[in-house]
């Protein structure tokens, strides 16, 4: 069944979109990631204009992270105070990101920026995850080696403006969480992702937050950052396609719940290595497009002052 998308102005198969939403939803449920980093490139591949894909994906992430954060609220694994600090940084970052996006769109470089961001971040995260899970598998096969000691005190504890985060059991400066928030906000606006795949490692390794509150807190602030991003894209770029978002999020929210069930059945290291391979594959495809001479050197954009 073909569906004509009113904002993207292309006609696509509705079942394809539901299926894509479902598959990415299953993966995000299995691996505990937002799935935006997979969905946005997939939307590029099926011919949705990148500007529409990025803005609409932000809207879809609002749905999936809201669905997820409810479960975390029930388990009391959301550090609201930390979430709010991250959020302040995130909103500032998102505002900057959307303006940057609009400026680059005007000079025709937005596709490049989005794709470069994807190649860099997917490459780095994918490689790190791959190595880490490979080590974990090797370790679980051999005798249980000594766990790496986490440093209790580093340069972060020397910064001023300290604040108590009771749920996380931390007493640290507000500057690092603010900066992490800004970085993720900019990425959310440019890449159409929640930024969970950057936020989660940053919270664990940089801020030293306990793992059990990390996912809930990250989801909590992602809702607001992507929600704000959606609004900004809708008002500055007019690129949020509601029809596309609804089709994706129906598939997505159902898939996420199914994925969470499947995830329980698989071993954690196997899951992570699978995810790493997938991330690297998407990264490889995007990098290939940038490095190899395109079959069509020219591309079209709307003319001066038209949008």
């Amino acid at each position: 069944m073909q569906i004509y998308l009113p904002i993207a102005e292309v006609s696509v198969n509705a079942f394809l979109l539901l299926g894509l939403g479902g598959i990415v939803g299953v993966l995000s449920g299995m691996f505990g990631v937002g799935g935006g980093f997979l969905m946005t490139p997939l939307l590029f591949f099926i011919g949705i204009p990148p500007a529409v894909a990025v803005a609409t994906e932000a809207n879809q992430i609002v749905a999936s992270s809201f669905s997820g954060v409810l479960a975390h609220f029930r388990r009391k694994t959301v550090d609201l105070r930390m979430g709010l600090v991250l959020l302040v940084g995130g909103l500032a970052g998102a505002a900057v990101g959307v303006q940057l996006f609009a400026a680059l769109r005007a000079i025709g470089q937005v596709d490049l920026l989005v794709k470069l961001c994807y190649v860099v971040f997917l490459g780095v995260i994918g490689a790190l995850m791959f190595v880490e899970s490979l080590n974990a598998i090797r370790k679980s096969r051999g005798a249980g080696g000594a766990l790496p000691q986490r440093k209790k005190h580093n340069w972060i504890h020397a910064l001023p403006f300290k604040m108590k985060f009771r749920t996380s059991g931390l007493y640290i400066s507000v500057i690092p969480p603010l900066l992490v928030g800004v970085a993720v906000g900019v990425l959310a606006a440019i890449m159409g992702v929640g930024g969970g795949f950057i936020m989660v490692p940053a919270m664990i390794y940089l801020l030293g937050m306990p793992t059990k509150v990390v996912v809930g807190t990250s989801l909590f602030q992602i809702i607001f950052v992507t929600g704000f991003t959606t609004l900004m894209h809708a008002t500055t770029n007019y690129t949020v396609d509601m029809m596309l978002a609804v089709l994706l999020l129906i598939g997505g929210v159902v898939g996420a719940q199914i994925g969470a069930r499947i995830g329980v059945l698989l071993k954690a290291e196997q899951l992570r290595i699978l995810l790493a391979v997938m991330v690297l594959a998407v990264c490889g495809k995007l990098a290939f497009d940038l490095l190899v001479m395109p079959s069509e050197l020219y591309n079209l954009g709307t003319g001066g002052g038209h949008g």
């Binding site: 004509y4 749905a63 809201f66 809708a234 008002t235 591309n299 954009g301």
Partner: protein
């Protein structure tokens, strides 16, 4: 008196005294949510008071359908620092139809002379207007060529020789397939009657292509009340997220 009348008729009729009468199977195309392209039949007849002229060449029919014209920016990629491909040069094409189809009853060059093409802007190349390219771009023509190539590839520009069927030099018809990636606006259909490559008569009519229903509503809302649209998008997202969570919690218990 009779002489006057004859003169009047002679003056009123175009050369050869042949007129084109044409109609469309539909002059309104609605882009609904499940719009998947549309096919329009253009048909008509040649009206004449005198017998078919024997001296002139074969009667040919040429039909064009053009979407609304808007400026288009054509960008070219080049290798940046020998590493990655990025958009570098850009040429602004002042006006290019979003959709253009030329169907003829014979090979284009035989149906229409170049001078007539220039006057009526019939071929795709002539329908696109590009005034000035920036001085930094040496080969501006290749940008217009690229525009035509890309749009042809997307089926938005179509050239179809021998696609108009002419019967007995009087009846003609052709069908125009409007693709699913259509944009809205007023489309103009032109029907040219030619002999020896010269235009004998032209008929022009309009096809209205519009988003309707939900498509219309969403598009208008997004552009006229972007804030309301954005908030509505968020409300839908939040309620979908909440519903999924609630439904699956209910199923689990």
């Amino acid at each position: 008196m009779i002489r006057w009348l004859a003169l009047m008729i002679l003056l009123a009729l175009p050369a050869h005294g042949e007129e084109v009468l044409a109609d469309l199977s539909q002059n309104r195309v609605s882009i609904t949510a499940n719009f998947d392209g549309s096919e329009i039949l253009i048909f008509g007849a040649v009206k004449r008071e005198t017998p078919i002229p024997r001296d002139g060449g074969q009667l040919e029919v040429l039909i064009t359908v053009a979407g609304p014209s808007v400026p288009v920016t054509v960008r070219r990629k080049a290798k940046w620092n020998g590493l990655i491909w990025i958009n570098t040069e850009a040429v602004e094409v002042d006006s290019a139809p979003s959709f253009y189809k030329v169907a003829t009853s014979g090979p284009f060059n035989e149906v229409l002379k170049d001078t007539e093409d220039l006057r009526h802007k019939v071929s795709i190349e002539r329908a696109i207007r590009s005034v000035g390219a920036p001085m930094t771009v040496a080969d501006a023509a290749s940008f217009t060529d690229a525009l035509i190539r890309i749009r042809k590839h997307e089926n938005l520009y179509q050239e179809q020789p021998n696609a108009v069927i002419v019967n007995e030099q009087t009846l003609f018809r052709t069908s125009v397939a409007l693709p699913s990636n259509l944009t809205e606006g007023n489309y103009t259909a032109r029907i040219f009657l030619t002999r020896d490559g010269r235009v004998v008569d032209v008929h022009e009519t309009v096809i209205y292509v519009q988003k309707v229903g939900l498509e219309r509503f969403l598009y208008n809302l997004a552009h006229e009340r972007p804030l309301v649209y954005g908030i509505l998008s968020l409300v839908i997202a939040i309620s979908a997220g909440w519903t999924a969570s609630a439904v699956f919690r209910y199923l689990r218990s």
